[in-house]
Every structure is written in structure tokens, then in C-alpha cells.
Amino acid sequence: MLYAPPIARLLEELERLPGIGPKSAQRIAYYILRSDEEVAGRLAASLLEVKSAIHFCPRCFDFAEAELCEVCADPERDTTLLCVVEEPRDVVAIERTGEFRGLYHVLGGVISPMDGIGPEQLRVRELLDRVSGGSVTEVVVATNTTVEGETTALYLARMLKPLGLKVTRIASGLPVGGDLEYADEVTLGRALEARREL
């Protein structure tokens, strides 16, 4: 089927988005076509606004609207504690727990030679600059528990420990409050392998 050129252009743009295939793109495009002009206007305006108003925080590289992101700008945060994460969405996940009161550092990915990503492609240099001579005493490495996330954690530990910092890794394994019965075998196996003495 041939679309009118403006529809085809919209479909093409939508299909570029992550997680959107041809069918989803068609559904979204038809929804917009059926809606009031106001709906399209708001969507277009919010897309442009987010691009012009949001930038990377120069300290932690999370997304920020003001000069610094909300966490870095908050004087109440514990500046001795730094949590290293892969992506901005990980900051959101940890903030939601309400358990962490320190600062963040967003790496922008993990080391993965097959994808051509080494420490130079990540914000590792910036991390080292940030912790050397600063007030940070402990770095919590909260990269994902994938092969690449774990290796990145080991790499960072090797770089950070000689600077006299305490380096810790978030515990992986059983989800908090998870019922043993429902934990899958892999998670359970990991949790057992990584068990600690209390």
C-alpha cells in the first residue's frame, strides 16, 4: 500500500525509534491523524522542548534541566558517597528506592570490546578526575549484572582502589522481598554462590 508522502515521512521517523516496528508506527501515525491538531501540537512542542531544555549534567552526566542536575545541586546529598551507573534510567531506578543519599556518576554504557566500547568511550576519565582530590570516600558500582557490567565493575575497582577509595558492588541475587519459591534458578544459584557471612 502506498501512503501519501507526509504520512510516509511520519512513519519513517517513527520506525527509527527504539522498540517501534512498522505496525506500531502505523498505529501511532493513525492515532495522530485522527486526533485534534492540538494533540499533535503538544507532542511536537514537547519533543522540541526536551531537546532544547535538557543537557548532560557536567558533573554526573545524568540529564539535567538547570546547570546541574537535581541530585548534584541538592546540598543535602552525601558527597562522600558516589554511585556509578550505566545509564540515566538507572539513576531513576535507584532514586525510587529512596535508600541512597549520595551522588551519581553515569558512565554512558559498559565496556564491550565486540561493540567497540572501551573505557575511552565511557565517562571513566571524568570519574577518575571527579574522585581524585574530592570529598568522595566510597564508590558503589551499580552497573548491571551482565557479563559486561560485571567486567566494567572489576575494571573500575582496579582503577579506583589505588586512589585509596573504598569500592563496593551492589549485591545481586534475590530480589528484595522476593519469595524463594518464585525466584528463578539462575538468580537463586547466584545468590547462593555470592552468599555472605552475617
Binding site: P113, T151, V186
Partner: protein
Amino acid sequence: MEGLRVVSVSLSRFRNHNEWSSELDPGLTVLVGKNAAGKTNILEAVMVASTGTSFRSFVWEDLVMRGEQEARVSIVSSRSGAPSEIDLRITDQGYREYSVNGSKKRTMAEIVGRIPLVSFVPEDLSMSKGASEKRRTPLDALGDRLSSAYSALRVEYARLVRQRNTLLRQGAADRDLEPWDDMLASVGASLTMHRIRLLVRMKPPAVIAYERVSGGEALGVEYLASWADGSALGVEEIAAMSRDEIEKGIGRSLKGARERERDRGMTLSGPHRDDVVLSIQGHPARAYASQGQHRTVALAWKMAEVDVVHEVTGVRPLLLLDDVMSELDSRRRAELSSYVLEGSQSILTTTNLSYFTGEMLGAATVVELGHG
């Protein structure tokens, strides 16, 4: 019969089968037909639907009949009286969806283990010959089917090796390699532990089965660890090592081989380079065994698999036997037959019913297959 029973199997648009279904005998079902009638495809469908893997390598979309959009496999089974139906849907894009009793399952871990099975195909007959990979593969494939931790570790480990090999080929500095060494040693040690635990279970029944089928010969099973100093270790010897010792062993070996690894652009020690060493009457099977002895090893190994699966899962596994009778001499055929008749539910394919005794056929359901 206690435990598990597969009641029926149906396929649609699966490889050469447009529509095919059959009830299964609680004991032996014999699928008889000419070459290319699709006998092996039926066994493959059963295996893929119950384990997500196959005794031969395959691409998902190739399982769908050419020109069709979707293949389906459905297996009805009952376990201690409770019925259950596994449905597998595969699209021509290679997308697949499993459901059990109508509810979708997201992970293979929810499927694997519902129908424990052991397959025996002609390729298995050469497991004690050839490259070390051939001897490791049956063990790892069994581990994958018995434990999702085993298969997850294998996937992780294989990824680590690929990542590290990429670095080696780039001539990366020690500083960049070392965290990968640590991870490889750690995950490699876990995988080795799992593999050895499985081998410890496999060895006694394999030795007993080999002795019986061969008429008194002794089968030896040892483990040649690429990270230990070159000589094969007894299975019990490695089993007595701690995870820490194995991890240190792999780590030391990686460090020692650094320059050679850079030259060759590959990781040279770790469980992916280890070997299961089989011997007969004290002589390495690979170099000294006769054709018949190789077949006896394969047969004994499969019988041991049945025992181990039974022990681990608590039910006797379904046996899938693809055209192996024609490859065995009458003595081994009789051994296998008695094993099949002893109480396992089995599906067996053959081009020729004359390999079977009247006693065997009398107790079996014979299903004839026409051309596709």
C-alpha cells in the same frame, strides 16, 4: 507406568509435515518410513517443543514449512495423572512462543524439565572419536536440559570468551585484559564446577553400562583441564577441588599464556578448552578403540544419561531414538532393545522393521509415514 507419559504429538506446517499427529504408545512407538518421509523431523519437533534445543543445529525460521507463515507443535503429556499440554508456535520470522495449558511462558526455564528426554541419533555414535568439542558437547547439552543455571553460565561464559578474544586480536594492553581475565576465571570456575558435578553423576552408570554391553571391559572417564598442568585428572580429583582453587588455576594459566594468546588472538585455557577423556581397558578410546567399541561407548553414555535424568528429575525420560538400530550390531541392538522395553517411553524411527524382534514389535505401536 509411574511418572511421565507423553500422550500425543501433533505438528502443523513443521518442516515437511503439513498436518501430522499421533497418539503415543505408553511404551514404544515405532515410526517407520522411507528416507525423507520426515521421521527425524517428528523427533526434532518433540525435542524443540520440550527443550528449545535439538539434536541437530537449526535456525528457527527453517522449522516452518517453506512458504508458510507459522508452524505449530503441540505435545500432550500426563505426569502422575495430571494432564498438561505444551504448545509451540514458530513464525517464518523465527519468532517463537511457548505456552503451557494455554498460558504463555516467557522463559525457556518454564518449559525445560516438563518433559525430560534423552535423544540418541547417529551423530552420537562418534562421541568418543574426533575433536574434544565432540566429547564435551553431549555433557554440556545434558547440563543445559537439566539446569537453567548450567545453560545460563554457558551462555555467559561463551560471551566472555568472545569479548576477550576481540581484545586479544586488538592487541589490548594488560590493564584492559585483566578485568576480563578475572571474570573469565570466575565464571569459568563456576561452569567447571557444574560440569564436574554432572560428570560425577554420569561416570558410575556409564561405567556399569559399558561393562555390561561390552561383556566385561572397563571404561575410564577422566577430565583434561586446559588450566591444569597438561595431564588428565580423575573426575573425583577435580570434584575435590574448591571453586577458589579452580578459579586460581584458570587465572594463573591465562596469565602464563598471555603472549601466545595475543599471537593467536584467542583464549587458550578455560572450560571451553577442557576435554572429557574416555579410555577402554586403560587405553585412550580416541586413538585405540575399534569401531564397535566407539559405538558401545556411545550406547553406554546414553544409558547413563537416562539414569541421570531419571535421578535428577524424578521421572524416567522420554527416549528419542533416530535410526540407530541400523548402526548397531545384533548384540548392541538387543541391549538397547531391552533397555527400551525395561520401562522407558520411547519413540524410535527406522526404515526397516526387520531390525526388531517379534517380541519388541508385539509390544509396540507401529506408525507408518508416507512421503511428506
